[in-house]
């Protein structure tokens, strides 16, 4: 229609030429020129562009980006006038979905296509759908930090980059499970590997790397991260992200909904990716000292990591049952039978079922007492059910023992030094008079593992007939061998490459400050000790336990922002948690004051002076300006947490996006 002209070639309508660049923002891009009028609809313009390009291609994902206004022209029924587009507008005709490199919570990089035209909230939701992570509202994207060290670029090893950019997900359909993974992952070996990367915990990092990575040394360091969050209500394009840029995907709001679905849906079955990624984020939080914990807590975290890693390495990931469950059952039954037959081959089956195994051996025993110089003495020791009895010699065994100890409820502490060939078990046995201490010294690893496993079971009131006995023995042996490799040789390269190859370096499991504090051989027994309490957990349970322990830390879930309170002369820290705001002294780190969201009446943002004002019940008013991050980040955090608190189990996955944007959007969102 536009471009009507007279015979002389003069345009008689009010049409004008519009130049549109084809491709992504690029000054050199090819361009087409169209004749349009102010009444042209965007849809028509799109059509014309495609005609002019005259290339066969799927253009459906393309749309026009108006560079000056930093805006997509997505309303195809709007006219150019309505958008206010004149001839000087720089328009780019490009794809709405572009590849980005996503740095996942597990620190792996993944290439995929993200929407550059939808508000980030929707873009993240789409990404999460692709990755099969439920509750995308809890996650968001951060800009990757600028890389400072360009100089020592030398030996940055090429890291593996997973690629999901070819995968397209049909809209509106819940991804079906196929071969135990969302169907869209099962297309190729490559995507399958990607799914495994997503859904399985990664091995512990190299301790050296861990030491090199930047760690926050102060509260103000911890505020840095939070200045990089992207706006949820604006699209990536508007926020200056370009195709191929690196972004971090992280759990932003520490309010994890429905993390532990009730029995009918074991977490592993429903969303292993979410659980795993959350675990990874928690793990890195701890390893990089983003969150502090005590020594005892660190040992538990380390033990859980060790356990999780062991399970995931050994492939006991709960590999989903094959297509024919019936066959599987059969297999299981057969293998069970096999085990049974093998296990009981030497003895009568009944016998093995009814008799409780005993341990009898010569061990050296030491009982610390005041004013005693006696050391270890050889005794004949009999361990039956949960009771330990020892005799002067084997001959006296039928008679009265020197002492008899019921180990139920006792504390069992390993006291082991593999390189020193010291295998002691320290027992703290409760009795009405107090705890009695006794040390058992074993000759070698094998003996130690058997007795140790027995003691541990006994302390929980179980006997060696318990089904977990053998696995306990194995676990102890495995851990000992770890210690041998980890710290072992006199050469003492604790971080040698074989250490990480053979099993685990305990240094990879703890935050660097514990690496400085302990030698590996000190660390191992402590991790081992903590491990005994978690050794029976399944992979998903262990991950969940890890996350729970993380959540139980006092500083958990606090996002720090540097602010200046109205009327105050110095910068302070504002901590934002899922239920409260915390005012923290920047220098000392003490909590000055806490306000709970449940008492909050309203909050306002003055975008001009970058000030957030909050009113709480009883006329408490707080106002501050944001220093380290833009006030929209604070605003979005508060709004986001309030949004999250409105979630209800009954509504399931459904999201009230409008509400979210309303709560988190700024004035320009409307």
């Amino acid at each position: 229609m536009a471009g009507m002209k007279t015979a002389s070639g003069d345009y008689i309508d009010s049409s004008w030429e519009l130049r549109v660049f084809v491709g992504e923002e690029d000054p050199e891009a090819e361009s087409v020129t169209l004749r349009v009028t102010g009444e042209s609809h965007i849809g028509g313009v799109l059509l014309k562009i495609v005609e002019q390009i005259n290339r066969k291609q799927d253009w459906s994902d393309h749309a026009i980006w108006w560079e000056q206004k930093r805006q997509w022209l997505l309303q195809t029924h709007w006219t150019l006038d309505k958008y206010g587009i004149l001839a000087d507008a720089r328009l780019f005709f490009g794809p709405q979905h572009r590849p980005v490199i996503l740095r996942l919570p597990n620190r792996r990089a993944l290439r995929l296509r993200a929407s550059f035209s939808q508000p980030l909230f929707q873009a993240v939701a789409a990404i999460c759908r692709l990755l099969s992570i439920r509750h995308p509202e809890e996650l968001s994207l951060l800009r990757a930090p600028e890389k400072k060290e360009k100089k020592k670029k030398e030996k940055e090893p090429e890291e593996e980059l997973y690629d999901l950019s070819k995968v397209v997900l049909a809209g509106g359909v819940a991804p079906a499970l196929f071969r135990g993974m969302p169907a869209h992952f099962s297309d190729s070996a490559q995507t399958e590997a990607c799914y495994h990367m997503l859904s399985r915990p990664q091995p512990p990092p190299d301790p050296l790397l861990l030491q090199r990575l930047p760690r926050p040394s102060s509260l103000s360091d911890k505020t840095q991260l939070h200045s990089r969050w992207l706006d949820s209500s604006r699209c990536l394009m508007q926020q200056g992200i370009k195709a191929g840029d690196a972004l971090w995907l992280r759990f932003k709001y520490y309010s994890f909904f429905d993390l532990d679905p009730k029995p009918p849906l074991p977490p592993l079955q429903t969303d292993p990716v979410r659980l795993t990624q959350l675990y990874e984020q928690a793990r890195w939080d701890l390893l990089l000292e983003e969150i502090d914990c005590t020594e005892e807590e660190m040992m538990v975290f380390a033990a859980l990591q060790y356990h999780i890693n062991k399970l995931s390495q050994s492939g006991e990931v709960g590999e989903p049952a094959g297509t024919d469950p019936g066959l599987d059952d059969l297999d299981v039954a057969l293998s069970n039978l096999e085990v049974k037959l093998e296990g009981s081959a030497p003895t009568d089956v009944l016998d093995s079922l009814t008799t409780i195994p005993e341990l009898k051996d010569h061990l050296r025993i030491f009982r610390p007492r005041k004013l005693t110089l006696k050391g270890y003495r050889q005794h004949w020791v009999v361990f039956k059910e949960t009771t330990l009895s020892y005799y002067k010699s084997q001959d006296e065994a039928p008679g009265d023992p020197i002492q008899q100890l019921n180990l139920k409820g006792c504390e069992v502490v390993p006291d082991v030094n593999v390189s020193g060939q010291k295998f002691c078990i320290k027992l703290l046995v409760p009795s009405p008079e107090g705890m009695s201490e006794i040390y058992l010294r074993c000759q070698d690893e094998q003996q130690y593992a058997r007795w140790m496993a027995g003691c541990r079971l006994a302390s929980k009131g179980r006997t060696m007939a318990d089904s977990s006995y053998t696995s306990e023995v194995q676990a102890i042996l495995a851990f000992l061998s770890l210690q041998r490799t980890g710290s072992g040789g006199p050469g003492n390269h604790p971080h040698g490459p074989d250490a990480s190859a053979e099993g685990l370096n305990p240094y990879g499991l703890v935050a660097p400050r514990f690496q400085r504090k302990f030698k590996a051989k000190q660390l191992t027994p402590r991790i081992l000790e903590a491990h005994q309490n978690v050794a029976q957990l399944s992979l998903a349970e262990a991950q969940l336990r890890f996350i729970q322990a993380w959540q139980s830390l006092p500083d958990f879930g606090i996002s720090y922002v540097m602010v200046r309170f109205k009327g105050s002369r110095k910068d302070e820290i504002l901590g934002i948690a899922n239920n409260r705001l915390i005012r923290i002294d920047l220098a000392v780190g003490d909590v000055v004051k806490t306000w709970r969201f449940s008492n909050m009446r309203q909050w306002n943002v003055n975008w001009d002076i970058r000030q957030v004002a909050i009113e709480f019940d009883e006329h408490i008013n707080v106002a501050f300006s944001c220093v380290s991050a833009s006030c929209r980040i604070v605003h979005e955090y508060i709004g986001g947490y309030i949004f999250l608190s409105t979630r209800e189990r009954a509504r399931g996955e459904e999201l009230d996006e409008d509400l979210f944007l309303q709560l988190t959007g700024g004035h320009e969102a409307f």
């Binding site: 409760p430 009405p432 107090g434 705890m435 400050r513 500083d555 709970r596 408490i620």
Partner: protein, 640 residues
């Protein structure tokens, strides 16, 4: 005459019905071999009786009765063979063993370790001063049937200084025991009731958490322990759920928060609780401050800065800051329980009396492994104790609370509805319980048939009850029972309780009846369904029922005197002095067989009235009555 005699008949039949009911409620499943049951039941009675006379402590006696009844009921479930043997032994010898012994043997035989058994005994001893003297007591229990469950006799001190003894089996949690006590005491069932253990020697005490296994805890006590278990209300038990703000929001807002704390509305409390207890992991209240720590083995107390974390209690070492990385672990909770210390100011020279103690549950004596901490005030103390419990037990605590609330809610609703109704509601709770706990472990065979009958009976009973007591008469003892109880003008409280207790096994009456009617050859003595229910009667709380009342099966006795007197009196020779009768009985008891009968005393008195009318009454009932009569007479003879 006719009319009045009918009345009396009716009354008797009701009484009988009730007795049946009671009996059956004890050991419904036992019925098949009716013979065994009765003897034992009688024994129970006699025990009560005797003790009464001797000790004059009615409550305790009642407890004993109940206990014995429980015990008997349980055991009776055992193989028939055993039963018969018991019976024989019963008839032949009643004197030898002391109560203690019998109980002990019961407990021991039940498969419990020596230690535990000892505990049982010692507790018993505390309770029953005279027991040993009672010859009648020797129950045939000793030959313990194949009992998978170990049980313990536990003496519980009530807050009115009385005590109650209960059978607790190894599977029962504190919650179950509380429910049991609720039933027996009629208390208001509110959430503050708790089992409370006291170590007089260490001067420490604590609540049982509702999910704790009672037998397990008790098995840590030593044989000669002075430790006690109390049943009382402690508002601290669930304080955090009533006013979470005092624990979760304290200290944060300085002064103004105090005001807001009190004002916190229900909705906010709820959301605070949900936030703290319903997330993926529970939130342990932030708690930190200076406390006094008693130094190991010394008398001095040192002030240190402590912090509570989910993983344990930490302190700030000298010269360090209170950041996580500097903290030193003081204790973790896995192997310790938390106790309140009482009067440690005196005992250990503590700076204040607001002390709490952490120790391994097995430690019973002073030891360096016990940690003593001392707070500045009671508020801090409560915060620490609660905080530690939250850290140790986590969500379990909240689950316990919700169960407790549900229980309390149910109870209050029912009590509001009045006594008769109360019976019905109680049924579900009691019924299933007896059904599950006891039968499960013990009933050998008969169970199936019995249970079927039972069910039917139950249905029957229920419907009849619903219909209205009016229908009730000779034929259906169950029916009359319900109405009677309320009518009987018992002190209000008892009826409720009783009804609820019995209600558990409404079916029983029918059954008993049936068997009885069937013309069981059983000797009268045996036959009498011993009213096992005594337990219900022994309301520790009910002040009204003085010992006298209690002696007889409370159900009948208390009210009867007045009302019955009028009716029955005309026809019957005045009932033998109910209370006195029992008294004499004990002595003769030693004579043995009769004693069994004598036990009945409470009931018997009324029975005596019957003698005059036997003719009037229906067949089955008549048999009963005549049996009763005979028994009574025998007993009397003995007495006099």
């Amino acid at each position: 005459m006719g009319e009045s005699s009918e009345d009396i008949d009716q009354m008797f039949s009701t009484l009988l019905g009730e007795m049946d009911l009671l009996t059956q409620s004890l050991g419904v499943d036992t019925l098949p071999p009716p013979d065994p049951n009765p003897p034992r039941a009688e024994f129970n009675y006699s025990v009560g009786f005797k003790d009464l006379n001797e000790s004059l402590n009615a409550l305790e006696d009642q407890d004993l009765d109940a206990l014995m009844a429980d015990l008997v009921a349980d055991i009776s479930e055992a193989e028939q063979r055993t039963i018969q043997a018991q019976k024989e032994s019963l008839q032949n010898q009643h004197h030898s063993a002391s109560l203690q012994a019998s109980i002990f043997s019961g407990a021991a035989s039940l498969g419990y370790g020596t230690n535990v058994a000892a505990t049982g005994i010692s507790q018993y001893e505390d309770d029953l001063p005279p027991p040993p003297a009672d010859p009648v007591l020797d129950l045939p229990l000793p030959p313990p049937p194949p009992e998978p469950l170990s049980q313990l006799v536990v003496k519980v001190h009530m807050n009115d200084n009385s005590t109650k003894s209960l059978m607790v089996d190894e599977r029962q949690l504190a919650r179950d025991v509380l429910d049991n006590l609720f039933e027996k005491t009629h208390c208001d069932c509110n959430v503050d009731w708790c089992l409370y253990e006291i170590y007089p020697e260490l001067q420490i005490e604590r609540f049982f958490e509702d999910h704790e296994n009672v037998v397990e805890v008790l098995s840590d006590w030593t044989r000669d322990t002075e430790n006690k278990i109390l049943f009382l209300e402690k508002e601290e038990k669930y304080a955090v759920f009533k006013n979470p703000q005092n624990f979760y929001l304290d200290n944060r807002g300085k002064k103004e928060s105090k005001e807001t704390n009190e004002k916190m509305n229900a909705k906010n409390k709820e959301s605070l609780l949900e936030e703290s207890f319903c997330g993926t992991s529970i939130i342990v209240p932030e708690l930190e401050g200076a406390l006094y720590l008693k130094e190991d083995g010394k008398k001095s107390w040192k002030r240190r800065y402590f912090l509570l974390r989910a993983s344990g209690i930490y302190y700030v070492p000298k010269g360090k800051t209170k950041t996580s990385r500097d903290l030193a672990c003081f204790i973790q909770f896995e192997n310790v329980n938390i106790y309140y210390g009482t009067q440690h100011k005196m005992k250990y020279k503590a700076p204040t009396d607001y002390c709490f103690v952490l120790k391994h549950p097995q430690i019973q004596k002073e030891s360096q492994y016990i940690k003593y901490l001392c707070c500045d005030d009671t508020r801090t103390l409560n915060q620490w104790v609660m905080g530690i419990r939250i850290a140790k037990y986590g969500k379990t605590l909240y689950d316990n609370y919700q169960r407790a609330v549900a229980k309390a809610g149910l109870a209050s609703r029912w009590t509001n509805l009045g006594t008769v109704n109360a019976a019905a509601p109680a049924q579900p709770s009691t019924g299933p319980k007896t059904g599950t706990t006891q039968p499960n472990g013990q009933i050998p065979q008969a169970t199936h048939s019995v249970s079927a009958v039972l069910q039917e009976a139950q249905r029957h009973a229920e419907t009849s009850k619903d219909k209205k007591p009016a229908l009730g008469n000779h034929h259906d003892p169950a029916v009359p029972r319900a109405p009677h109880a309320p009518k009987s003008s018992l002190p209000p409280p008892p009826p409720v309780r009783r009804s609820s207790d019995t209600s558990g096994s409404p079916a029983t009456p029918l059954k008993a009846k049936g068997t009885g009617g069937g013309g069981l050859p059983a000797p009268p003595d045996d036959f009498l369904p011993p009213p096992p229910p005594p337990p219900p009667l022994d309301d520790p709380e009910l002040p009204p029922p003085p010992p006298d009342f209690m002696e007889p099966p409370p159900d009948f006795v208390p009210p009867p005197p007045p009302s019955y007197a009028g009716i029955a009196g005309s026809e019957l020779p005045p009932p033998p002095p109910p209370p006195p009768a029992p008294a004499p009985a004990p002595v003769p008891d030693s004579a043995r067989p009769p004693p069994a009968v004598a036990k009945r005393p409470p009931v018997p008195p009324k029975r005596q009235e019957n003698p005059g009318h036997p003719g009037g009454a229906g067949g089955g009932e008549q048999d009963f009555m005549s049996d009763l009569m005979k028994a009574l007479q025998k007993k009397r003879g003995n007495v006099s």
